[in-house]
């Protein structure tokens, strides 16, 4: 399928940022620094050791609302995908969420409302921060290492037995089933701020909080899609292969 408006590797990297400021956060995740001159996306990727094809796909997913080329994305290696997911975790836990938290702390209401509103919002967001942290930590400690191990065994046809045994303990199906939705609390918070919270005296801050929440939500949606539609099916395929390899070895 032809997509209009897809970003291509011969475009200037600087143009990418002019076109869509939200893509800036992706540069961080690929460790691309500013001061890119008039270099093309391909040139910048090369000099930074970034896989340009993968970079382009990610950039295009984030830039084009309905673009999500499942088959193409599944052709990239697990370690490449997992690395990006990990970088996104850092972005959520160390940048986005603390920034939103700091904004919430700045909200001011008139009179008695102030103490109460601030206290419950802080409490709610604190819980959310912990939830995201626990979620990402579990993925980094259990899920991602497992997927990398599966890929390695499959590709190099080694450690088949060990990997198969691990699969018996924890398969990607477990992950797919228990992958909980960390966007729910975010949606709730958005609704509370938009509809139910009395207006703060500094509305500019309230608007900022909201716009950051929407940004985070959008990012998390892309993130979850990559995990559920790319990572999980890819590993499922490999698990099948492992099973066959394991039984043929025994035979």
């Amino acid at each position: 399928m032809e997509y209009l408006g897809l970003i291509t590797k011969d475009q200037e990297l600087a143009n990418l940022i002019y076109t869509d400021i939200e893509l800036l956060s992706l540069l961080r995740r690929f460790n691309i620094k500013l001061g890119v001159g008039d270099k093309s996306i391909e040139e910048v990727c090369k000099s930074n050791g970034v896989n340009v094809d993968f970079f382009l796909e990610i950039v295009n997913i984030f830039h084009n609302k309905n673009y999500f080329p499942t088959a193409k994305l599944q052709s990239f290696s697990i370690s490449l995908i997992v690395n990006f997911l990990k970088e996104s975790h850092i972005y959520y836990n160390e940048e986005m969420i603390p920034a939103i938290e700091a904004l919430i702390h700045q909200l001011v209401w008139t009179g008695d409302d102030h103490e109460r509103n601030l206290k419950i919002l802080k409490k709610f967001f604190n819980e959310y921060r912990k939830e995201v942290k626990a979620h990402t930590q579990q993925e980094e400690e259990t899920v991602y290492p497992y997927t990398v191990f599966v890929e390695e065994s499959c590709m190099k046809n080694k450690n088949i037995k060990a990997c198969y045994e691990k699969m018996q303990e924890y398969s990607i199906t477990n992950y797919a089933e228990e992958h909980n939705n960390i966007e729910e609390k975010l949606t709730d918070l958005k609704n509370i701020i938009i509809k139910y919270l009395s207006p703060s005296r500094n509305q500019d801050i309230a608007f900022k909080v909201l716009s950051e929440l929407f940004k985070l939500e959008k990012d998390l949606n892309h993130h979850a899609a990559i995990e559920e539609k790319i990572l999980v099916p890819k590993i499922l395929e490999m698990e099948k292969k492992l099973k066959n390899l394991n039984s043929s070895k025994k035979a």
Partner: protein, 197 residues
């Protein structure tokens, strides 16, 4: 655009057919039934719960007045009468009337007007998203951290009913998580900060 359910009672096959084809030109109109007599009028209304009844004046006069009054207090419908000639109907239950000789545009206008009024009313009902007293009581328990079973026992209802109420609360408020509902409960003084464990 929400649906408007019509039910037709008219002796003449051709007129019934004509009306049915005319209603196709009205946005959201759906005909739940098309009858040549008003026998079983009450049960048909109860089963189909129409928004608009279009009925021939002669068939209408066959129906017991008490039956109609009872139905109109229980169900929310409008009646459009069909008469052969232009005549005055004094019955207050009739929203409007149409005549055999009337032109299509005029009939369409009349039906459209009533449909429009009805949808306006429906919209007002839907906009009223505030939670009910019962839901408020349930929300209070949820915010205090009670389980469905505990709530059911406290309010003398089944756990299933608690779940239904909770679903409605979530739908009305747009808040899914218990933490979110707790924030709502505090903001609306349903529970106090000190109730939090």
């Amino acid at each position: 655009m929400s649906k408007t359910i019509f039910i037709l009672f008219e002796k003449s096959y051709l007129i019934r057919l004509g009306l049915a084809s005319l209603l196709k030109e009205i946005k959201g109109a759906e005909i739940s039934g098309n009858y040549n007599s008003a026998d079983n009028f009450a049960s048909l209304i109860k089963n189909q719960n129409p928004d608009i009844i279009i009925i021939n004046q002669e068939l209408y006069s066959d129906i017991n007045t008490q039956t109609i009054n009872n139905l109109s207090s229980e169900y929310n419908f409008r009646i459009i009468g069909i008469t052969k000639e232009k005549m005055v109907i004094t019955n207050s239950l009739f929203s409007n009337q149409i005549f055999y000789k009337e032109e299509k545009a005029k009939i369409l206008n009349k039906i459209n007007e009533i449909t429009f009024q009805l949808n306006g009313n429906k919209k007002n009902l839907k906009d009223n998203k505030g939670i009910s007293e019962r839901e408020r009581a349930i929300l209070e328990c949820v915010a205090k951290g009670m389980t469905n079973k505990e709530i059911a026992e406290k309010l003398f209802i089944s756990a299933h009913t608690v779940i239904t109420h909770r679903k409605n609360i979530v739908r009305k408020l747009g808040i899914k998580t218990v933490s979110g509902l707790t924030v709502y409960a505090i903001l609306n003084k349903i529970i106090d900060m000190t109730d939090l464990k």
